[in-house]
């Protein structure tokens, strides 16, 4: 079974070498796909030097856009399962096994920071926003998730195929992706994971931006029509 790590990276040349080295040590048999999201630093060179496959976007698309490309590449190159991994060292490679183990009984696994084994702390406004999103997702899906915005997630091939063309391309992609997957009838489970403090890069959450995207996702959730796109012309190109 082929497994791939998809690592979206925007100007992460500083933290990436350590992350890739650690991955190579913990999971040497996994493909490593770095999606260089229009970085202006040496991210692509660093990734290639470490022996990873590097996809370079001509300009910054945002994490959702980068992930969609990663999914597409993973699917096209025949990967059976893949997981998203952070370029800034926030994710702990020792936790990958937990995600993949849970993938045996689910199409998609979300690594949660907020169940018993995690000790992740966030600010108050962020916690409030996350709580509201959690509640909305629960209302929509009837399923309970403790961490709807976690980026530490694993996917089986059918999900990779779906996300290759239909993945939310804007910020807060995780929440939207969860909804997309559930609407498509995939089984999604949550497993507790521990996470670390980021080692490099700037946190991508400015309050105003967070507020804007929070409202945007709420509208999408309420409208419920946001993700009913017909398969784009891309699909034929992918075959």
């Amino acid at each position: 079974m082929r497994t791939a790590a998809i690592i979206p990276a925007f100007n992460e040349a500083e933290s990436l070498p350590a992350v890739l080295a650690e991955l190579a040590l913990t999971v040497p048999d996994h493909d490593v796909i770095v999606v260089d999201d229009g970085s202006t630093d040496a991210t692509a060179e660093v990734a290639r030097a470490a022996g990873a496959t590097c996809l370079s976007l001509p300009f910054n698309l945002g994490i959702g856009g980068a992930m969609r490309l990663g999914f597409r590449h993973a699917f096209e190159s025949g990967v059976d399962r893949a997981y998203q991994f952070d370029a800034d060292g926030q994710h702990d490679p020792s936790q990958i096994a937990h995600l993949l183990a849970a993938l045996d009984h689910a199409d998609m696994v979300v690594g949660s920071r907020f169940t018993d084994s995690g000790d992740y702390r966030v600010g108050r406004s962020r916690a409030l926003a996350m709580g509201l999103l959690r509640w909305m997702v629960r209302l929509m899906s009837g399923q309970r998730f403790t961490d709807t915005s976690s980026g530490f997630r694993a996917f089986r091939r059918p999900v990779l195929e779906a996300f290759a063309t239909d993945y939310p391309v804007e910020y807060m992609d995780s929440v939207e992706a969860l909804i997309v997957a559930l609407r498509r009838g995939f089984t999604v489970v949550e497993v507790p994971v521990t996470m670390r403090e980021r080692t490099g890069g700037v946190p991508s959450n400015r309050n105003l931006r967070l507020a804007y995207h929070f409202v945007r996702v709420l509208i999408l959730l309420v409208a419920g029509t946001g993700r009913r796109r017909s398969p784009s012309s891309l699909r034929s190109a992918a075959q």
């Binding site: 496959t53 996809l55 001509p58 698309l61 597409r72 891309l234």
Partner: protein, 115 residues
């Protein structure tokens, strides 16, 4: 409509039509926008050439202060146009995204062949 308002409208029309014709001649606008703006110029020109037309139309619609009709039409038109541009922009944005993806994949294929 008073003489001043009319003069203003006439001046505006001349400026607008000249600008539109210039853009059309330079071929910087796509055909569909050319037609759109030429129509706008035509409407403005008619309104300016027949001073009583707007007054007459305003009276017909029961609008007491006649220039309101002009403003109403202008705002309505601009609103529709803005909506149309939002739509076009969303579409273009989506296509640019897909093109960026395709480019990254082509680069990958090229690297694979060379490496």
């Amino acid at each position: 409509m008073t003489g001043t308002t009319h003069a203003l409208l006439a001046a505006l029309t001349v400026v607008a039509v000249v600008m539109i014709l210039r853009l059309v001649r330079l071929q910087v606008l796509k055909a569909k926008y050319t037609i759109l703006w030429l129509t706008v110029g035509l409407v403005l020109a008619i309104a300016a050439a027949v001073p009583n037309l707007l007054d007459w139309a305003a009276d017909l619609l029961g609008i007491w202060y006649q220039p309101t009709l002009f403003l109403l039409l202008a705002i309505g038109f601009l609103l529709l146009l803005a909506m149309h541009f939002s739509y076009e922009l969303s579409r273009v944005e989506k296509r640019v995204r897909v093109l960026a993806e395709e480019l990254a994949l082509l680069r990958r294929d090229l690297d694979d062949e060379q490496g």
